[in-house]
Symmetry: C2
Subunit: 407 residues, 2 copies
């Protein structure tokens, strides 16, 4: 077979051919921003907090006025005023004075610390006894402690989490510029396919890959454009791919697992543009092809849903990263293999697992099944890969699991 | 303080008081089901595949007809027909016969295996030479190999992943019954609060918790109902909570970090229903209260966003589990502490971290900051908890990190 590449070589090819793809900006309200990828660095333009704040209910003081005081011999300070929540502290504290402040309230000028109300006694005559010495800066957040103008809060390429949304609210970014979701066409091919809602006749099967790919693309932060089932006919396929590249950023074909069908997809890509890849040395997933039509990636995925799943994780997800600018490592979790797993020399081999915690250990149970069974995937917690030059792994081997339950 | 409970005791209290909450069913199309929680077990009602299928391009044969053949001495079989993709195999194979089948095509009755086309030679006279003996069952998936009527494919309480969607498509579930998203009211309280889009005056700050909680609830699979900012006034708060319990399944109040405000929230909950919890022994997050109004949980969260974040993870997320029936363990990843971290005896203590892979090791760098700084959270990759009875952890200690970047 021409140009069968390893998964790593495939990623290099994608980088070489498609890394020039630039994310496109889109501005959304904070309520719609969680999970989106930040288009540009976000820096603060003001101070947060914008004023010195108390972190406790108590009295703002000059710390020096409290040095040496104790429960038994309190420092007696004159109450100069009371700061109200949400209002400016419009007094300036002089020596021997204090000022009541609530948690989160403004600390008046002249004060350098706050004593918790628990350590004070209001004598009712305009004075307060302070029973515990304050250190300068105590129980306060100073103006700009959190952020100051020009400080970068979040870097571009970050997938926004809930806390990031909170930080954006804090610095007054009620709208945020994120990468547009790439529109990815999903076309299923095959004379044997019917919709999931239809009852297959003898010889027919339901189209699984359309629903699988749409869900994966949604999870990956793309917008699936489901174009349905195309009969296995070169002319039909050419029309569908031509139309899809007009309206979408990339095209995923799935199906065509027989030699003739694979050839038809390759011919269509070749005649409309150019072929770049004729297969990937991975198992499952070998019969994957890739090309470019009008500058846009067109990937011909295998027919088996399990293969579609792994090729999408290995190849489509990194490709989408160029559209969104996503720049975050994905983390795996360590687990222990419940049984030995043999591998085919020469192809990176992917296995689904169920995870179970047994005391301190996390055990990975490989899901064994014939190729092409969708129920291999259903209920899987994650997967691991045996590299191409490894002959297998013994029982108890440490494996790094990529979680798939919450993509 | 009355009823200050540990985080575990708080979860026990929630279980005791709210475990009777039952998920409500809702039927959605597969295109909208990823990430939703399955309401009931899903079993197949038919066979998948519905017929014996070939997994290769080749010839369906009776294996016995090929025993002993080789490249040099091929078995010569009569071609009885050709199966077309998507159509029934309407012939019955007799001894000495074979039938061309494509990958995924139906294997005719009488055949028990398929020989790959690579090992055959078409003599052009209606016969084919088979150059490699077939074992019975070879290169086939049998009817019902994947699923059969009554087989449970997915269990209720599972958060549907992309592969699960594929499995549902395979068994013809174009619609699926999931738990309704609980509607959770979000009310921010405080005289000092302004909207994120507004410019705070002296003494004012932007409402961070409203945006933070809405994003967290969205990530948790709930529907946030943002009711805005309420001034710190008992009567206003009573009206807002009364209205919220009418239209929502639970109410989250945030803010009210001063003693007076906290008291107001507790009074409102007490007067409309009953108080259940007056504080949690966690840091940050202690000033958390919880009660019940008209059978619905009402939680008064702290004012500091960082505390709101951790209390929401520790308490609100498990509570939401009763509304959705979610029944999946969450996985943590092991990392190594970059430096020692001391802990306050007596309170479970939560720390945000940045993660960095250094060779084989994953290092967790604690983000140190004063309490209440939202930028402690922004950019964090995850967090860990030091239990209440632990005095701290040394540099290099193994910690279990809960990832927060992709909730």
């Amino acid at each position: 077979m021409l140009n069968v590449l390893t998964p790593d070589e495939t990623l290099e090819l994608i980088k070489k051919e498609f890394a020039h793809i630039a994310p496109q900006p889109e501005t959304v309200g904070l309520g719609f921003a969680v999970g989106r990828v930040l288009y540009e660095d976000v820096a603060a333009t003001e101070y947060v907090p914008g004023f010195d704040r108390s972190t406790v209910d108590g009295y703002a003081v000059k710390a020096a006025d409290t040095f040496g005081c104790s429960d038994a011999i309190p420092a007696i300070l004159q109450v100069a005023g009371k700061v109200l929540m949400g209002e400016d502290a419009d007094i300036i504290l002089s020596e021997g004075q204090c000022c009541a402040v609530p948690t989160g309230g403004a600390v008046p000028q002249g004060a350098d610390s706050v004593v918790m109300v628990e350590y004070t006694e209001d004598y009712g005559d305009g004075t307060v006894g302070i029973g515990k010495a304050a250190a300068p800066g105590q129980n306060m957040i100073f103006k700009g402690d959190d952020v100051f103008p020009g400080k970068t809060i979040l870097k571009k390429g970050r997938r926004l989490s809930s806390q990031d949304i909170g930080a954006l609210a804090a610095i007054g970014k009620a709208n945020v510029t994120v990468a547009k979701k790439p529109r990815i066409a999903v076309i299923s091919t095959g004379d044997e396919l019917v919709l999931p809602s239809e009852t297959p006749k003898a010889g027919q099967v339901r189209d699984v890959n359309g629903a699988l790919l749409s869900a994966m693309l949604t999870s990956f932060g793309a917008e699936p454009v489901t174009l349905g089932i195309i009969k296995d006919n070169e002319e039909e396929l050419r029309k569908a791919v031509s139309a899809a590249v007009q309206s979408c950023d990339a095209v995923l074909l799935s199906g065509g697992s027989s030699v003739g069908e694979k050839d038809a997809a390759a011919k269509v890509i070749g005649s409309l543009g150019e072929m770049l890849l004729h297969g990937i040395a991975m198992k499952p997933g070998k019969p994957t092809i890739m090309g470019r039509v009008q500058g846009k990636p067109v990937i011909g995925l295998p027919g088996h849903p399990v293969a579609v799943y792994f090729v999408s994780r290995a190849v489509v997800l990194p490709l989408l990263g160029y559209f969104t600018g996503l720049d975050m490592p994905s983390h795996t979790i360590a687990a222990e293999l419940s049984e030995s797993v043999s591998a085919n020399h020469g192809r990176a081999q992917y296995h689904c697992v169920r995870l179970q915690r047994e005391g301190e250990r996390l055990i990975a149970y490989p899901i064994r099944s014939k190729s092409g069974l969708i129920t291999t995937l259903a209920g899987a917690d994650g997967y691991f890969c045996i590299p191409r030059d490894c002959e297998g792994l013994p029982r108890g081997a440490a494996v790094q699991i990529t979680l798939c339950a919450r993509e």
